[in-house]
């Protein structure tokens, strides 16, 4: 059962991804991204990481993709919705395949086999988030703050701009 599920999700994930990097229409690309992200959330579920799946859908599917689409709207100009790849895309493909050629064997050799996925309790996550991982948590909040301030400073139209 989970094999089938896994394959379906994987197909959607990768298909979405490929669409993002292949399509010539940027809006479609955004939608493809959404598909792929949701599929990834599914993968999390297969791995019993329900909380993560939730976060994934909310933040990615909710926030990020929306922001991206807004950005697309705001920066719409002559070439949109049609976009294209740059001059070096064949090289890029080669490099990407090369990396794949390194990663795949790296994962395959002495791979760990036959382990059951175990699920992690919400409470456990929450607890360690506020004990062991307190510092990263606090810092992450600062990161968000900085991003916020920065975004305002940079994007806000200053004096003398329409």
């Amino acid at each position: 059962m989970s094999w089938a599920l896994f394959i379906v999700l994987a197909v959607f994930t990768l298909g979405g991804g490929l669409a993002v990097v292949a399509t010539r229409n940027i809006v479609q690309a955004a939608l493809a991204l959404l598909v792929s992200l949701v599929a990834v959330a599914g993968i999390y579920l297969v791995l019993y990481a329900e909380f993560l799946a939730l976060v994934q859908v909310l933040i990615y599917g909710g926030a990020i993709v929306i922001v991206l689409i807004f950005a697309i709207m705001l920066t719409r100009n002559a070439e949109y919705p049609r976009t294209s790849d740059n001059r070096q895309w064949p090289l890029a493909a080669l490099a990407a395949l090369g990396l794949l050629g390194v990663l795949v064997p790296a994962f395959l050799i002495n791979a760990v086999k036959g382990t059951e996925p175990k699920n992690a309790s919400f409470s456990g996550i929450g607890e360690s988030l506020f004990t062991t991982w307190a510092v990263p948590f606090e810092v992450a909040s600062l990161v968000l703050l900085v991003a916020l301030i920065g975004a305002i400073i940079i994007a806000r139209s200053g004096p003398g701009e329409n």
Binding site: V146, G150, I154
Partner: protein, 530 residues
Amino acid sequence: MPGLTDNLELLTPEFALAGLAFLVFAADLVLPESRKNLLGWVSIAGLIALIVVSILMVWDHDQSLYNGLLAIDDFSLWFKVLFMGIGVFIILSSMDFVSEHLDHKGEFYGLVLFSILGMNIMAQARELLTAYIALELLSFSLYVLAAYSRNSPKSNEGGLKYIIIGAFSSAILLYGVSMVYGVLGVTKFEAIAAGLAVASEVSPSLWVGMALILVGLGFKVAAVPFHMWAPDVYEGAPYPITAYLSIGSKAAAFALVLRLVAEGFVPVADRWEQWQLVLAVLAAVTMMVGNLVALAQRNLKRLLAYSSIGHSGFLLAGIAALSLDSSLPSNGVMLYLVGYSVTNFVVFGAFISFFNMTGKEMMSDLAGLGGTQPFLAASIAIGMFSLAGLPIFAGFAIKFYLFTAIADEGLLWLAGLAVFASLVSLYYYLQVIRQMYIEPAEGEAAYGHGYGYEHVDAEHGDGEHEHGETDEPAPRYGATLFETFPALGRRPSLTILAVLGAGLLAVFWIGVYPAPLIDTIEAASRAIMS
């Protein structure tokens, strides 16, 4: 079960720093445009106070909080002091610039403070994710600051390139982390070391993962071939931020690398033996490319960018030489960071002041500065000599120490290459000095009438006798520049003078008698080379 509040007092400096930043942001809202410099002074005062506080509080501690996510030890203390000191200098040297060239003055200082907080935590982090988040805090501030002068296309471009390549590299770094985690199940440095020690038949994804982590950090320290963003971002960023990039973020990244390698890799002696080579090669390529390409630069910011790439190469060589049985390499790296930073304070301080006066940043614009601004010119010259590694300046002492450490570790070839690279660097540093003091050759036209051969009579073409006749003090270029920019007549502002004065003192002090400094460094590196 360690709680959120255990030993919380040990983090006082960090909380205080965050508080300081918030204070600045808050005060920014109420202060009028004209008084924003006050914020700068506030942050400086706060930083100095924090330096004192943290020295008093956590001197000679050796603890590790939150299951070893954070280290409160002399190493982190040493770097924290260094970072906050850097912060003081950066803010000092940027005050004029900010009030003249930037809007959103208040946030500027706040962001700088946040970035310093990020650096502090990077120096303390003993776990990959913590390190990563701290790194992102630093990076985000820098992304914003790099794009800070909003209406300059260059600044935008720099910012864009920086953030996209930055995000890309952090994705790579994280993938590396995930691969390591996938094999070892841990992300703490010591735990990694322990895991490596026992791991025999493991998936090679572990090695690849480490390589990817190295890539992520290599981007941060601008190691070749992950360096290409540096020149553009340096050139695009506002001048003080350029300085900050080449001093602060580099130092922070190396603090992280030092701890990671020293606690995570070095203890596994037999593995480390093998990996040294990788780092050594990376270092060799970096120092050569950085210095060679710098030869061809005409824009001062780009020049310094490439030169800082070259220096990263030297530092990486020091990293590659780390070993259990001697603390020389880690001392060398830290000493080098200090010497490099103070030298750059001087150089950038002078350049920023020059920019404030003329708004120019090409090497050729410096021509004749020796006549119009003797002190600035002298500072730049000293800085250049120091960067080139010539004696009685910091550059010589630190290079000698670091290279000795490298050679002592058996990497003589790398040390030799480093020495050669610093010869190459000498050429372009001298080009700057030449621009300021020596009038560029005018070619044929400049040659006067002679007999057997013609003898050059360009103005002060010949120190022997010409000057008796031409009593025009400043070289011609200086003169024209002088007419165009009357600001050149003014004395550099007090803040700049403070930076230069302190920097020069430090440069000479480290160059002549670094022993006390090295004692503190010794203590710091003992903390990580346990």
